[in-house]
């Protein structure tokens, strides 16, 4: 099996103006939502383990504009950006995070286990590596159904060292499943630096071991990310099988809320934050004449209002009633 190489330069797919703005909208939504999340935890009004996605906004935003509602995603505890980009509604999302009955999962899943099938957000897992085997299954179903749906399997750089990664890529390649493996490489797994956990300098190099195309891309560049995702998604839709995309990025606020980042240097953190992809992309859109300051500001204000509304909705909602404790264990009620 030959490894396909990716289109580059003028041959690479380019998002049109509307799509460029839509990518920004999603990035900004993720950024503002993350800020609101950290703020509310700091304020003590909500208690939860929170895995900030700040710094990783580009990846799901540039991928998801290539997806339809019935395409699927599987993601991880650090996955609220993926959920938002895919269209999970803010009110239900915030209510879930707040543990309320109006949440996507009636408050029973929580921030690590968001599921919202209507927007294709099927799985959020807390077990490293486990998004991939299940993504294969969703892709298998789509293939059997002869739809042109694709599934995105999101995971981190650290997850590329666990067995499930290997088994999933091998099976997906063998069965030519319409799945795209998106490794969001933020260079750390909890407190472990990339090179102390991973024996190869680029995770994308592992694709060759599965006869699968693999590519490392600047995951903070919306144009590159869009082009690579577009190509991989089209290939999957056309029945040509899976792709491994390693999207390079950085997480600004450590592994989990409260993390003091002792395991990284001040310099690398401030360098990464200085290259914050959200304002950079915003400036570029304006400089390139794709959008005006006013358009973007209006869009941002609108997002802020939506988030504020969602938080209010979530806080005002009721917690799940006690009978929810033993409901949904099985399809029928009252078993055991």
């Amino acid at each position: 099996m030959a490894t396909t190489s990716f289109a580059t330069g003028a041959n690479a797919a380019q998002p049109d103006a509307a799509t460029q703005i839509e990518i920004y909208r999603r990035m900004n939504l993720i950024m503002q939502n993350d800020e609101a999340s950290r703020k509310i935890i700091r304020s003590g009004r909500l208690m939860m383990p929170y895995y900030s996605q700040r710094g990783q906004e580009v990846i799901p935003s540039a991928i998801s504009v290539n997806l339809n509602d019935d395409d699927k995603i599987c993601t991880i505890y650090r996955g609220i950006h993926d959920m938002l980009a895919k269209g999970v509604p803010l009110r239900a999302l915030w209510a879930e995070i707040a543990g309320k009955v109006t949440g996507t999962c009636k408050g029973k899943g929580g921030p690590m286990h968001i599921t919202h099938p209507a927007s294709g957000a099927i799985l959020t897992t807390g077990i490293v590596g486990s998004s991939m085997p299940i993504a294969n299954g969703l892709a298998w179903a789509a293939k059997l159904d002869k739809t042109r749906q694709v599934t995105i399997a999101n995971f981190g750089d650290g997850a590329s060292n666990i067995g499930a990664f290997h088994e999933s890529l091998n099976l997906a390649s063998l069965w030519k499943l319409p799945v795209i493996f998106v490794c969001q490489n933020n260079r750390f797994a909890e407190h472990t630096r990339y090179e102390n956990g991973t024996s190869v300098d680029q995770i994308s190099k592992r694709a060759a071991g599965y006869g699968m195309p693999g590519i490392t891309v600047d995951g903070n560049d919306p144009y590159e990310m869009y082009a690579v995702a577009n190509e991989a998604i089209n290939r999957a839709r056309d029945g040509e099988g899976p792709t491994l995309i390693e999207a390079m990025t950085f997480r600004f606020f450590g592994h989990v809320f409260g993390d003091d980042d002792f395991y990284m240097t001040k310099e690398e953190k401030s360098a990464a934050m200085a290259a914050d992809p959200v304002p950079l992309y915003r400036a570029k859109l304006i400089a390139n004449g794709v959008a005006t300051e006013e358009t973007l500001a209006a869009l941002e204000t609108d997002i802020a209002a939506q988030i504020a509304d969602a938080i209010e909705f979530a806080l005002a909602s009721a917690p799940p009633p006690l009978e929810e404790l033993t409901r949904d264990v099985y399809a029928e009620q009252g078993v055991a």
Binding site: K106, I122, G126, V329
Partner: protein
């Protein structure tokens, strides 16, 4: 009433028929596992033989040796609208797929607030007595029975195997379906048409008054033989084949032991922290003051399955063990 048409089939054939009937009735039923397609022989003992030929290679897929990926593919396809029969060749190999089974298949319905159900059947064989040694013979059903979200089924004969498999495939939740290798190959007269047998319902195969013997899987056949032995000594045994371990049929078991006042529970798994413990603990609570003797549990000694034949035979609960335990409740 017209006579029921029967034929002699084994558990292997019975499960094969059940899967085949389910596949014929519903195009959404699919099968995967190592060597399950006919190109690879239709399963190592032939349980899925003929199915890929009949229903196509897309619906019956052999996989690499990759149990996590097998379970993940099953879970994802189930959420995607399929009813998946996944084979994990031997029960001990569930140990490389426990995350998928326990953290995902079992929990996804609950964690999603009821949105993503996982209608899969996880088939596996196991059992000592065929010289397979320590890593191929364990009965681990107690693990799965301790896991909310899973159902656990262990048939002892072809008719039950077929009827329970039909229900397991139709079930909206994940079902662990355990097949005992020792019971695979013996043909039994079995109705040609078997209706789905509800999960969670035990079968009282023999009414009795002195002592209730509760068992499942191949050990139930030994319990049946023990009941025949005991009858020779004038002991009247009520015999219960649990068939489903989770949820288990509390009503039937409690009613029986309430009547007899005595009970023996026998299974192949090691006794400590085994299924018998849950049943004994429940009975002593529900029937406090009404029991004529302590509930007796039988299971394997607390050790790995040994290779050497003499030790391996001593490992498995025997007819004599069951007879002795029943008699001890009457002493």
């Amino acid at each position: 009433m017209s006579a029921i048409e029967t034929k002699k089939i084994t558990i292997i054939q019975a499960i094969n028929e059940a899967i085949s009937e389910a596949m014929a009735a519903d195009p959404k039923v699919i099968v995967l596992g190592e060597d399950v397609a006919d190109r690879e022989g239709g399963g190592v003992v032939g349980v899925t033989r003929g199915l890929s030929t009949k229903y196509g290679d897309e619906r019956v897929r052999s996989t690499p040796i990759t149990e996590q990926a097998i379970m993940g593919a099953a879970i994802g396809a189930a959420i995607g609208g399929y009813k998946v029969v996944a084979e994990i060749m031997l029960m001990n190999f569930t140990t490389v797929a426990m995350d998928m089974i326990v953290n995902h298949a079992a929990k996804l319905r609950f964690m999603s607030g009821g949105q993503t159900g996982v209608p899969i059947v996880i088939r596996m064989m196991t059992g000592a007595g065929i010289s397979s040694g320590g890593q191929h013979s364990d009965f681990l059903e107690a693990w799965f029975a301790h896991t909310p979200g899973l159902k656990v089924v262990l048939p002892s004969n072809p008719e039950d195997a077929k009827g329970l498999m039909l229900s397991a495939i139709a079930d909206p939740d994940p079902v662990i379906f355990v097949e005992c290798t020792r019971a695979y190959f013996t043909p039994y007269e079995t109705p040609v048409n078997v209706a789905p047998i509800p999960l969670g319902k035990a079968k009282v195969t023999q009414q009795g008054t002195d002592v209730t013997i509760i068992s499942y899987s191949e050990i139930f056949l030994r319990a049946t033989a023990a009941a025949a032995e005991l009858a020779k000594d004038g002991i009247s045994v009520e015999l219960i084949d649990l068939r489903t371990i989770s949820p288990w049929d509390r009503e039937t078991v409690i009613a029986s032991v309430k009547k007899t006042g005595r009970a023996v529970i026998a299974h192949e798994a090691v006794k400590q922290f085994g299924v018998g413990a849950e049943i004994a603990a429940t009975l002593q609570d529900e029937l406090f003051g009404q029991l004529k003797a302590p509930i007796k549990r039988l299971g394997a000694p607390f050790t790995s399955v040994p290779f050497s034949g003499v030790l391996e035979q001593a490992f498995i609960v025997s007819v004599a063990d069951i007879v002795a335990a029943a008699k001890s409740t009457l002493a």
